[in-house]
Symmetry: C2
Subunit: 368 residues, 2 copies
């Protein structure tokens, strides 16, 4: 680990921990963070064709999934590591954990390593709000929030601050999750009520957000639960075999996705044929495609989370850290006196470095 002063003299990798990100959010205010994150995402979606994009690379096991999500533009390469393990709460770990990296395309140098667990919750909520601003009715004031786990506060606050939603109808199969959400929303200037079922929660609302964790083909919403004019923000169906909407809900709606090749594999539309019509959201933001066309239409944002959003999130948090003077670094890449003399780095340490371990001197066993 290095101090800030050393870091200035070497090709160092900046590091932001969850504590750093929590501090950024606490000091900046979550409303401003959500608005800033949404602005970065919106701007990057307008630069859609500047990115080298691909569907994320997933490793599935019986209990979860681990994914790598790379993306790059001309200057900057970004990737996120993220898992999804619905049963993690049993061992006191979050369902979704993430970290990410920004690197320089011109040298390959990893310039930032940072936590993305908190940041992903923030960016997913900001993404949902960016989509809803384009797709929900402008007069929306109420939202059902189904799934009251780790991401739910961020969703509620994003829709409150960025769309003016005042009233939340909450449902979760785990009653204590809903109670936690209500506690956390106290003082946020919103009304929230616990509902007895998903059906209860969606009755009469303008927007329905589903953000559930089960890795199954669930049917949180069926066609008869969907009222005219509703916008559905479907966040939790984001993995092969993990869906939230009955296929009829998709069939009755105009469906918007982030990146079609990935969403065909992972989104709720995985239930439908490959030619089921969807619109990439960036086309709506850029004015190339229609969003909502009338007040009675049902719109669905079939969100799975795409690498461009993490590119935006990494850059946003880095810039916020800059503004607040939050900075630390880790030693990830060796600093070489001669870049062709990697071996010399070992020799040098053999001579100069004191061991961190308890006893031994540095042995001269390097002599091959």
């Amino acid at each position: 680990m290095q101090s800030r002063t050393q870091a200035a003299h070497r090709p160092s990798t900046r590091f932001l921990s969850p504590e750093d990100v929590a501090l950024i959010i606490a000091r900046t205010g979550i409303a401003k963070c959500l608005a800033g994150m949404a602005a970065y995402i919106h701007q990057d979606f307008l630069r859609w064709n500047a990115f080298d994009k691909r569907a994320r690379v997933a490793h599935h096991s019986p209990v979860g999934v681990i994914e790598l999500m790379p993306v790059a533009d001309e200057r900057c390469y970004a990737f996120k590591y993220v898992n999804g393990h619905p049963r993690n709460f049993r061992c006191d770990l979050p369902t979704v954990m993430a970290f990410g990296v920004l690197a320089d395309v011109d040298t390959g140098m990893p310039e930032l390593v940072m936590e993305l667990t908190l940041t992903t919750a923030l960016r997913t909520a900001a993404m949902s709000a960016v989509a809803a601003r384009a797709l929900a009715r402008a007069d929306s004031t109420t939202m059902a929030l189904i799934g009251n786990g780790a991401q739910s506060e961020f969703q509620a606050l994003a829709f409150h601050h960025l769309l003016g939603i005042e009233e939340f109808h909450l449902f979760d199969t785990d009653r204590s999750a809903t109670e936690k959400l209500m506690r956390n929303l106290r003082g946020a200037g919103v009304r929230s009520k616990r509902c007895a079922s998903a059906r209860d929660a969606v009755r009469g609302v303008d927007i329905v957000t589903t953000v559930t964790a089960d890795k199954t083909n669930a049917t949180i919403l069926t066609r008869d639960m969907i009222e005219p004019g509703v916008h559905v923000n479907a966040v939790g169906g984001d993995c092969p075999g993990k869906t939230e909407l009955h296929a009829d809900v998709l069939r009755m709606a105009r469906v918007f996705v982030e990146y079609e090749p990935q969403s065909r594999l992972e989104g709720d539309i995985q239930q439908l044929p490959a030619d089921f019509p969807v619109t990439e959201l960036w086309q709506v933001l850029a004015g190339n495609a229609a969003g909502r066309v009338d007040a009675a239409q049902v719109t669905v944002f079939d969100s799975v989370g795409f690498a461009v959003e993490d590119y935006s999130a990494l850059r946003f948090m880095r810039d916020m850290a800059d503004d607040l003077g939050i900075s630390a670094s880790i030693s990830l890449i060796p600093r070489l006196a001669d870049p062709k003399d990697l071996f010399g780095f070992i020799r040098e340490r053999a001579g100069n470095m004191r061991p961190r371990a308890q006893t031994a001197r540095v042995a001269v066993s390097l002599a091959p």
Copy 2:
């Protein structure tokens, strides 16, 4: 950054820096490290079918490549980030820089983040030696080493310690690189001489190793330079558009690869039709396929570097660090009192955390 004692009480991520890895190598001795690394790789190659494998995911730019290399078995997920930027020496950065992660398949928790720049040089050399033990003539004593950059010492020492090579014929277009290599090999118990050309270097040797950096379709070796019985260890042709051998060298030889789907894209065999016969090395190690069949045969190990090798390398270095008591951790994943209350982590920091930056108190701007 956390201390070791704190780390015991939270889901911490272990961290190994280049300084840590240099210390491990210095204290253990490079001969023992190469032998240990080779043993881990060999063992994992015998478990080939236990791994979920895929070709790595590459982002190409005009000046280099950035790759992610994931792999997993039932228990452990590993990935490596690695770049290749031949012109990096101009800004005093290594051509190849890397780091990697080990994670728990059952929870997705990233358990280790570590440097892989030094470690990749070590693992690539160990991999070359594992292949050569199976493919080179058992009486081999001399090796040409073409390309005397950052990886060359590791290659020379691996072939010395694991195959008994005593004499090295060196060539590089950059004379100072060869001089650096000769300096670093002093005291290693080997003979080395600088040659005027690649053709000079390969004359009369038993093994030819090419480990050059140019991202071009180069022709380091042509058919007329290859003598009967030679084993060619082709390390540097590892990327689309980056090759070292004339196609005729491949056509005259039995060709062995790591993972065929990746090598077809990246190896020297990218120059040949998709049905050109190759053998995956693990089949030879497992006794399922023949390696060298007679003393006059030419064998080529068309190495590109595969994720299973990094899985082996990460585990080897972690185990070595354990043995030496080298241990530090980074705070990468938030520790939550309630795994469904991610938002609470921000509230908590707003109350408890002192800012790392120079002036401000923690503002209570979290109140949404």
